[in-house]
Symmetry: C2
Subunit: 410 residues, 2 copies
């Protein structure tokens, strides 16, 4: 009896132990540093791909992320977790070392974009419905703060009886644990300051009103000083100098926009795509076949570069030597590369239907592109503009590499 018992026990332990061995083997295989990794949005299937940009390979795929239209990603400061902001209000925390969802909450009905605080402890999401910003503990995804946006007076109530509030767009992080965002319908820019949180202080909210009609998107300069919002309802842009909030929001680039021509605009350009190289910002013109060159000291346009079609993203290589431009539908099969010094066209590429997004490797030797309608990721050499590799992906859109963890405003 005793022997039988022992045998049973050993078999049982053996079973567990073998499971452990399998885990060990898996872990050995997946022992990873996270400096050369990234996550790609597969928008049609609610999935993401986890990738490695040294080996140019797809490591795994994670399911169950909901509606990923216009989804974007920020990273934890250790580069282990990707926070995916879905369109359906889903906030999903993915563990890229374990290739799985670590946590997921549905935090609103309709959201667009998010940001992570300088200290990495807070994740903020900007919402359309109900309008406002929600702030979460980056570790647990528990709610830390709810910042309701301005009520739109005179609007019919929401179905649930609540008042309609302004949509929030252009949410970014800034130094000292601040989040900056724009209120589309109420024409405001707000600064939410969490810098005193560790000392037990409340969040401080600063509101700038009448900043211009319908801010639709925004960017922050790489040093976290200038917040610039594009305006859908008028020409020009709104600038907030975060080193001098007392000066308020000023208007710059008064001709930037649709102007008198009222051109058919197929898609408003993305402002996050602004390339800042030296004293110049290279900006997508609205509705025109041009890239604008603007002096960032005077905020005057100094040149314009003729382009293939209406630009959407204008991205500078990390060495600032060239800009890479994609275009609005129906010309979104094309990429153009320009020299930032001479403004000359270096090359026109046609990767395929619907080139939606580009991401440079951290030191800029390669650029990855999502070619949505051919279900492919392309990797190009930036110096030669030669295609190095093609990988399968299901309707890929945004590509986000982990080095974003270390940048202000990304």
């Amino acid at each position: 009896m005793k022997k039988a018992f022992l045998q049973l026990t050993s078999t049982f332990i053996l079973g567990s132990a073998l499971t452990a061995c399998v885990n060990t083997a898996q872990q050995e295989t997946t022992l990873r540093a996270t400096g050369d990794m990234g996550v790609i949005i597969e928008r049609a299937t609610g999935q993401v791909q986890i990738v490695n940009h040294t080996s140019k390979t797809i490591l795994s795929e994670v399911d169950g992320l909901g509606d990923l239209s216009h989804a974007s990603i920020v990273y934890s400061r250790d580069q282990r977790y990707a926070y995916v902001f879905g369109r359906d209000g889903g906030l999903t925390k993915i563990d890229i070392l374990k290739d799985k969802i670590d946590n997921r909450v549905i935090q609103s009905g309709n959201s667009i974009g998010g940001a992570i605080s300088q200290d990495g402890k807070l994740v903020a999401v900007s919402n359309y419905t109900p309008g406002g910003v929600k702030v979460f503990d980056s570790e647990t995804l528990e709610t830390v703060a709810i910042i309701d946006s301005t009520v739109l007076q005179g609007k019919p109530l929401n179905k649930d009886g609540s008042q309609v509030r302004s949509k929030v767009v252009g949410l970014v992080d800034a130094p000292n644990n601040r989040f900056i965002f724009s209120l589309f319908d109420s024409h405001e820019i707000w600064v939410a300051d969490f810098s005193g949180r560790e000392a037990g202080e409340e969040m401080k909210l600063t509101k700038f009103t009448d900043i211009g009609y319908f801010p639709y998107d925004a960017l922050i300069s790489p040093d976290g000083r200038y917040y610039i919002a594009g305006l859908f309802g008028e020409d020009g842009m709104a600038l907030l100098d975060l080193w001098h909030m007392e000066k308020g929001v000023t208007r710059i680039l008064k001709d930037y926009g649709k102007g008198d021509k009222k051109l058919p605009v197929y898609k408003m350009p993305h402002l996050e795509g602004w390339a800042m190289a030296g004293d110049y910002a290279f900006m997508p013109a609205v509705g025109q076949h041009k890239v604008l060159v603007v002096n960032t000291k005077t905020w005057q346009q100094v040149a314009e570069i003729p382009a293939h079609s209406q630009p959407i993203f204008v991205m500078a290589q990390p060495d600032n030597r060239q800009i890479w431009v994609n275009f609005a539908y129906p010309d979104n099969n094309t990429i153009q590369v320009f020299n930032t010094e001479t403004f000359e066209l270096v090359k026109t590429l046609t990767p395929g239907p619907a080139v939606l997004h580009m991401e440079f490797t951290p030191r800029g030797e390669h650029v990855w592109m999502s070619v949505r309608d051919s279900n492919e990721i392309h990797v190009y050499d930036t110096k030669t503009q030669q295609l190095l590799k093609t990988m399968p992906s299901k309707s890929p859109s945004g590509i986000f590499f982990t080095n974003r963890a270390h940048h202000i405003g990304l």
Copy 2:
């Protein structure tokens, strides 16, 4: 018999399996992302500490690195491996996921500093004896290229009968897999171009001669465009525009140096410490109690900031809002913080004896300092300049965080 055999087998497997379980547990504990890690040089004991800057903790210590005076570190593009350049010619590759030496070679008799190529495949080391640069495969540390520096004619031969060659200093990486370095004794700057290596082409070497007397250190601008060498033998600096190598090396800042006053210079300042913020470079004056403010468009000095003593490192926070300055012996117990906009002194700190190096967290909320002679690492909040934590370290010098992997020239 059969039963006994089975028992024996199961016991044997069980033993192995339990070992596997222990490994599993260890691996679970050490499952790490590498975005918030770093390595600190403990110069007196030939050791390094592996640290985490989110938890502000020392994770482990690695022995056996030889002479670590003036040692520096670069990281592999995945942020898993730290390449430590020792003074005794040792090149050590440390696996920061496994807390151990992965590989180590003694590649020369006396070396100073190194760099890693844009694609991460090549590690270069600059040598005093024998003078030149050696280039290694970053994976295997096998020699890829030996670039002998210029022979110094008329010098007595080395003990081994070989000719004396110029010492090499100021080695940095530049875009397109290039390494740039200065030849101290022969007054040259060389560019070694490995951009054709993947296509089977030979390395191309471009030599600039008569660049100024005794270049002693150098820096490269964050976009990889400007290489600037300080001159020990005369005033002024040597500038090479890598976008326009055809223009050759030009002389800038003709008054930079010791000037006519021939002040006692306790230590030549480190050029890697130059802070570039907006249009200004904040530079340590040589031998004077000043930080110089230079316009980087015109290379003219526009202001000078009185400081506590002779500055060594002048470092800008990642948000460019403040510069942090340390000083030469005997005033190296002090740190001063200045505002980059008003040039005002924000605070004077006295962390302790021999504050040798500072490193900012990637988005700049904290700064780590090595206080060599009190055997401590200090962590300060950059906004409040308050000391947050002190950790023990044996004669710490350089502190290097992994986000350097993603920067050109670091």
